[in-house]
């Protein structure tokens, strides 16, 4: 059996609470990261990503405790992104039990950070998060600050550079598609997947299960990340895996 393609729910965490309305009918507290992560692992999610969107620096410590609590009770891989700026941030997350950290703005500000991170902790735990916006035919530019700030950097060149610096995985978000429910930017996903020898997680735009299939089959993604379609109970992880399996994609059956 080949390696399976992964389905990864992404949870936004603000000051220790899961936000953007996760609505599971059968858990007591849909804002509790531990309960939500455990629930997802039990229904067959292959990994969980926590994105810390905490704005206040006072609350930045909170995510470390959340990661500890989740990692102590949920036994699937856990990635944490948001606010990873220095090696000490990575060390704290890994010590708390995260398996990988996602680096975004800090990599753009100082690409050498990715090299240092990979040297210290190993490429396997360094995910570079890339926010891309289309600026021409088959041409995407790297953006920061949630798609508001342009960098002038070509996305395909950027991901190649990040691989050379030691990135272990790319989390690729289309800022054009994010929140639209129109499906992944497949041309972007394919361009990046073909450009790098490391796994690519497609993100941004999922509105139905066929979009997940397309991300893997047409985009060449190794994993697909989604938030709202799972959180609101519109689709289950199980039905997502069934749809992918029906399209001939290898997925892991949960037990």
């Amino acid at each position: 059996m080949p390696l399976c393609k992964r389905i990864i729910p992404c949870l936004d965490v603000d000051a220790g609470r899961v936000v953007k309305g996760v609505r599971f009918v059968d858990i007591a507290d849909a804002g509790d990261p531990v309960e939500v992560a455990r629930r997802y692992s039990d229904v067959g999610a292959d990994e969980v990503v926590f994105l810390d969107i905490t704005a206040s620096s006072d609350d930045r410590e909170t995510i470390v405790h959340i990661v500890e609590q989740v990692a102590d009770q949920v036994f699937i891989p856990l990635t944490v992104g948001g606010g990873i700026r220095e090696l000490v941030d990575i060390r704290r997350m890994l010590n708390a039990g995260a398996d990988k950290v996602a680096i975004n703005t800090a990599a753009v500000n100082r690409p050498e950070f990715v090299r240092e991170a990979a040297q210290h902790f190993g490429s396997q735990c360094i995910v570079v998060s890339v926010d891309a916006k289309q600026v021409g035919a088959d041409h995407w530019e790297l953006f920061t600050h949630g798609g508001r700030q342009a960098t002038g950097i070509d996305v395909v060149e950027w991901v190649k550079k990040m691989v050379a610096f030691g990135a272990g995985e790319i989390l690729l978000t289309s800022m054009d598609r994010d929140g639209t429910r129109e499906g992944f930017d497949l041309a972007l996903t394919r361009a990046v997947a073909d450009a790098v020898p490391i796994p690519v997680i497609a993100s941004g735009g999922v509105g139905n299960l066929q979009h997940l299939v397309e991300g893997v089959r047409d985009g060449g993604a190794d994993a697909v990340l989604a938030a709202s379609i799972f959180h609101f109970g519109e689709y289950s992880i199980h039905s997502a895996k069934q749809a992918m399996a029906a399209a001939g994609i290898i997925v892991r059956e949960a037990r």
Binding site: M1, P2, L3, C4, K5, R6, S41, D46, A71, D72, Q73, F75, I76, P77, L94, N95, A96, G97, D99, F121, G122, S123, Q124, G168, E169, P197, I198, P199, G220, D222, A223, I250, R252, E253, A254, R255
Partner: protein, 212 residues
């Protein structure tokens, strides 16, 4: 009943310890103290990162000579690099001599391999199935071809088929996902990140007397 996880400074062992606690271990120690390692009922030999620095750390902690003796004395579970270090030789880091507890070699996945119709990414990162090649107490209540979570760029090729307890396929390479000899059982995957079946394996280790 004490499980001691050998802490020689290679990465975070919290998840492994917590997973053992979760499946009911009485006492879990994360330590490099020889007296404690000797006194423990069971040993876990973990490891992540590069094998060269793995062995430098083992030597810095004064464990190289002791390890070979310790690993033969009681039930042992090797995880990830803790599997690879048991073999004769690894081609990582320009070639590194291993502990030689089980005959075999550690090799890098070839570039430009095809897996599932696409270029195989290195490291292999994600879930893959393990074919149980030998009956073993650590496979109890785990179905054949169960899914486990892997993260690795190098793989183990056992010299003897008898030592190959579980096999995994990536691209056109079949490698040892689990190797077993006498009181040692070692896995390439991460049972502490492999949900039910991984936790079951840890549970099985707690009740294993080292024979099979």
């Amino acid at each position: 009943m004490t499980v001691a996880i050998i802490d020689y400074g290679m990465g975070n062992l919290r998840s492994v310890a917590k997973a053992f606690e979760h499946v009911g271990a009485d006492r879990v120690l994360v330590t490099d103290d020889l007296a404690m390692l000797r006194a423990a009922d069971r040993l876990v030999f973990p490891g992540q990162g590069a094998i060269g620095s793995c062995f430098s750390h083992i030597e810095e902690h004064g464990l190289r000579d002791e390890l070979s003796e310790l690993l033969l004395s009681k039930p042992v579970l090797g995880i990830c690099l803790g599997l690879q270090a048991l073999f004769d030789f690894s081609e990582e880091d320009g070639g590194v001599e291993g502990l030689g507890v089980i005959p075999g070699q550690v090799l890098r996945f070839p570039e430009k391999m095809i897996d599932g119709g696409e270029r195989a990414k290195i490291p292999q990162m994600g879930w893959n199935t393990v074919d149980q090649r030998r009956d073993h107490p650590l496979w109890r209540d785990i179905p054949d071809a169960a899914w486990f979570y892997f993260v690795h760029s190098y793989f183990v090729h056992t010299a003897n088929d008898d030592d190959l307890c579980g096999a995994c396929q990536y691209g056109d390479i079949e490698f040892a996902a689990a190797a077993a000899r006498d009181n040692i059982f070692a896995v390439q995957f991460h049972p502490e990140k492999s949900h039910h079946d991984g936790l079951q394996l840890l549970k099985n280790f707690l009740s294993w007397d080292g024979t099979w």
